[in-house]
């Protein structure tokens, strides 16, 4: 089984006529992704890099005669909730929300509706998903030639709360000859559609993935949830984590990096998270350049065991 996206995944871009969305569409098409349509209300009949534009998702589905697998949502924060509801109600099952600065209640509503309808949300405030050499869904890795440089196919899955660090880590894995099976920028907000623990089963079921690298930050309980998942399920997939923002432990109440990155209590400090991850058998790297060797060690241990 292939996690999240593969060469057959079809998707649309909501807000496709926006400046960033036009670039993103070009990048994804160049990389080999199957973008079957776009939506911008009032722009029906146009094309963006050859992709037909519709007024609504329902209209798009009707005219194409099928429901696409996914949608990349790039509309402004005030309109994102409605766009995502529209995609979910049209039957789309994988929604990547690029938009940042969406109010938290709106995010909770989108995520709750997705749960009720059996859809998965990645983000908000993320760069999307890439399966190196196959397809990418979102701005992750940038233009196709840049994405190619940083992301070569391999056997390590990457999940990251930072879009830029997804590429930095993947590039390091690529340079070390390990490569990347699938990388997912999960988003930097306090509430996101898919957390590490929620994505783990898909990586476990993915035949290409032999280890996971996660990039993480202070704030929230997502790492504790991952630690609990690993402990409770006895997951065999080796995980190496990198924790940035350790300095924030001395600065409670101040937000850096991403909207969800803030130390509010004892449980969401970097120090406490590192401890929890370690306790669950997750290796925590001191710096990015150590990651490839730690991953090789962990994969080696698995083979021996």
């Amino acid at each position: 089984m292939k996690a999240l996206i593969d060469q057959d995944t079809t998707f649309i871009v909501q807000g496709i006529t926006g400046r960033e969305a036009v670039n993103l569409t070009r990048e994804c098409l160049d990389y080999g992704s199957k973008i079957v349509g776009g939506v911008t209300p009032g722009r029906r009949g146009r094309e963006v890099h050859g992709v037909p534009v519709f007024d609504s998702v329902a209209q798009l589905c009707q005219e194409l005669g099928s429901v696409p697998d996914g949608s990349v949502v790039t509309v402004p924060p005030a309109f994102t909730k409605d766009a995502v509801f529209e995609a979910i109600e049209a039957g789309i099952k994988l929604i990547v929300i690029v938009t940042e600065r969406i109010p938290r209640f709106d995010v909770a509503q989108m995520v709750e509706l997705a749960g009720l309808r059996g859809a998965r949300i990645i983000g908000p405030n993320c760069l999307g998903i890439i399966r190196p050499g196959v397809a990418k869904m979102g701005g992750i890795g940038g233009p196709a030639k840049d994405a190619q440089k940083a992301y070569q196919p391999g056997n390590v899955g990457v999940m990251s709360r930072s879009g830029g660090m997804t590429t930095e880590i993947s590039s390091t894995l690529t340079a070390a000859g390990l490569g990347v099976s699938i990388a997912c920028s999960i988003g930097g907000d306090a509430i996101i559609g898919s957390t590490y623990a929620e994505l783990m089963p898909m990586f476990e079921a993915d035949d290409q993935t032999e280890a996971i690298v996660i990039y993480t930050e202070p704030g929230g309980r997502m790492e504790a949830e991952l630690a609990r998942y690993v402990t409770e399920t006895g997951s065999k997939l080796p995980i190496v984590a990198f924790m940035a923002g350790r300095f924030m432990d001395e600065m409670p109440g101040m937000s850096f990096g991403h909207a969800g990155t803030i130390v509010e209590g004892k449980a969401d400090t970097a120090a406490e998270k590192i401890k929890r991850l370690n306790d669950a058998g997750i290796t925590v790297a001191e710096e990015i350049s150590e990651i490839p060797d730690l991953v090789k060690d962990r994969i080696g241990q698995k083979v021996e065991a």
Binding site: G139, G142, S171, I191, Y215, M222, M254, G257, I288, S289
Partner: protein, 404 residues
């Protein structure tokens, strides 16, 4: 964004939750008048956006208006954790039968808002959670289905409350949840929620946080409360350096120069983006470096934005050199940032090769960027040098410079 207690009280009142009688004053005379109006023992509370005001002497009790005036004068002049009070709140010191806690927060794992309720109010709720878990009730409520009232009732009942207390507390908790949703709060709590001798309930103290993302659509409330747009209400007041950083970011819509934060070191940082900045700041410190600032550049800034931010950092007293570093960029252009930081050095009369300890930004348009850096003799790295490697080199260079 935090609200002062007196503002939180106003929000409770406008949403129909009863509050203990009282008023807000910015001078001692007005405090005296409010105390006289209340007529009886009062409490005078410092209005600061920081905890620990009781311990610091920011909360005092008075039996007469004159005593209230004297206390108010002292409290108004009292700095607490670096915060001067906005004013004082004078409240009736009512006879309380029992104290409760009512709150609404988000649960990031369940991804839903949740009620938190306790029959042990008046103390820190985290302490209650640790020591008396059976005295805390929690209950998530849906953001898409209309389920608030019975969920509130279940939460109150879960700590063993029934009878008229249950029926009086349920609407209070429910209204608190409604205002939490309506005003884009990330925290809305009443602590203590007091039961008076006659059995009714009033909010004695309240604490609310609105998320910044909600501010654009909450302008009406903020206007009513008199909260100005430029009030950031962060954990600490912004410094002049930080205000200038914000200004540089806001005057040019191209790209982002966010979260400019002042520190007291000698190595200026021009770093990006979100995760890259967090990693690099840690890295500099792990090698013994002393950052002069933190910032997050990204989103393809213009030459002038990169230049102005760099000039701000270079002009900060005590800054010997700057390090320009980012994680691999795909949207931001390497050559544009290179141009901006070099221009900043030149305009201030510095030699870029001397002032820029290292430049490590790989990614989009890197060949063009590296050419420019070469021309000015700036030491630069491509992606083969890690973020930590670049930070280490910057710290080495500034160490050598300081020794010379």
């Amino acid at each position: 964004m935090r609200f002062y207690e007196y503002e939180s009280r106003q929000i409770l009142e406008r949403e129909g939750i009863p509050v203990a009688p009282g008023g807000f004053a910015t001078d001692a005379e007005a405090a005296k008048a409010i105390a006289a109006d209340i007529g009886g023992p009062v409490v005078i509370k410092s209005q600061v956006l920081t905890g620990g005001r009781m311990k610091a002497g920011g909360v005092k009790f008075a039996d007469t208006p004159e005593e209230a005036e004297a206390h108010a004068r002292e409290i108004l002049a009292l700095e607490i954790n670096g915060h001067m009070p906005r004013g004082v709140l004078i409240g009736a010191k009512a006879e309380i039968k029992q104290e409760y806690y009512a709150g609404v927060i988000y649960d990031g794992i369940r991804k839903l808002p949740t009620f938190v309720f306790s029959d042990m109010g008046g103390i820190d709720i985290e302490e209650v959670a640790e020591q008396h878990p059976d005295h805390i009730g929690r209950g998530h409520f849906s953001t898409v289905l209309p389920s608030m009232d019975f969920r509130a009732k279940d939460t109150v009942a879960s700590v063993g409350i029934t009878g008229s207390e249950l029926n009086r507390l349920t609407p209070i908790l429910s209204k608190l949840a409604r205002l939490f949703v309506k005003y884009d709060m990330t925290l809305a709590e009443i602590n203590p929620l007091a039961q008076l001798a006659d059995g009714t309930f009033v909010a004695v103290d309240a604490h609310m946080d609105m998320e910044n993302e909600g501010r654009p659509r909450q302008k009406a409330l903020l206007k009513d409360l008199g909260v100005a747009d430029e009030e950031t209400r962060e954990a600490r007041e912004p410094t002049e350096f930080e205000i200038e950083g914000e200004r540089i970011d806001s005057v040019d819509h191209r790209g982002v120069a966010g979260n400019v934060t002042e520190f007291d070191g000698n190595l200026g940082l021009v770093i990006g983006a979100g995760g890259g900045s967090l990693t690099l700041f840690d890295a500099v410190r792990s090698y013994g470096g002393r950052p002069a600032n933190y910032c997050e550049i990204g989103g393809n800034p213009s030459v002038s934005k990169a230049k102005n931010l760099t000039k701000l950092v270079l002009s900060k007293p005590g800054v010997d050199k700057i390090a320009v570093m980012m994680s691999i960029v795909s949207n931001t252009r390497v050559d544009i940032v290179a141009r901006g930081v070099i221009k900043a050095c030149l305009e201030l009369g510095f030699d870029p090769a001397e002032k820029i300890a290292v430049f490590r930004i790989p990614g989009a348009w890197e060949e063009e960027g590296f050419k420019i850096l070469e021309k000015y003799g700036v030491e630069y790295f491509d992606r083969s040098v890690s973020l930590h490697g670049a930070a280490k080199r910057a710290v080495e260079k500034i160490g050598a410079g300081a020794a010379a």
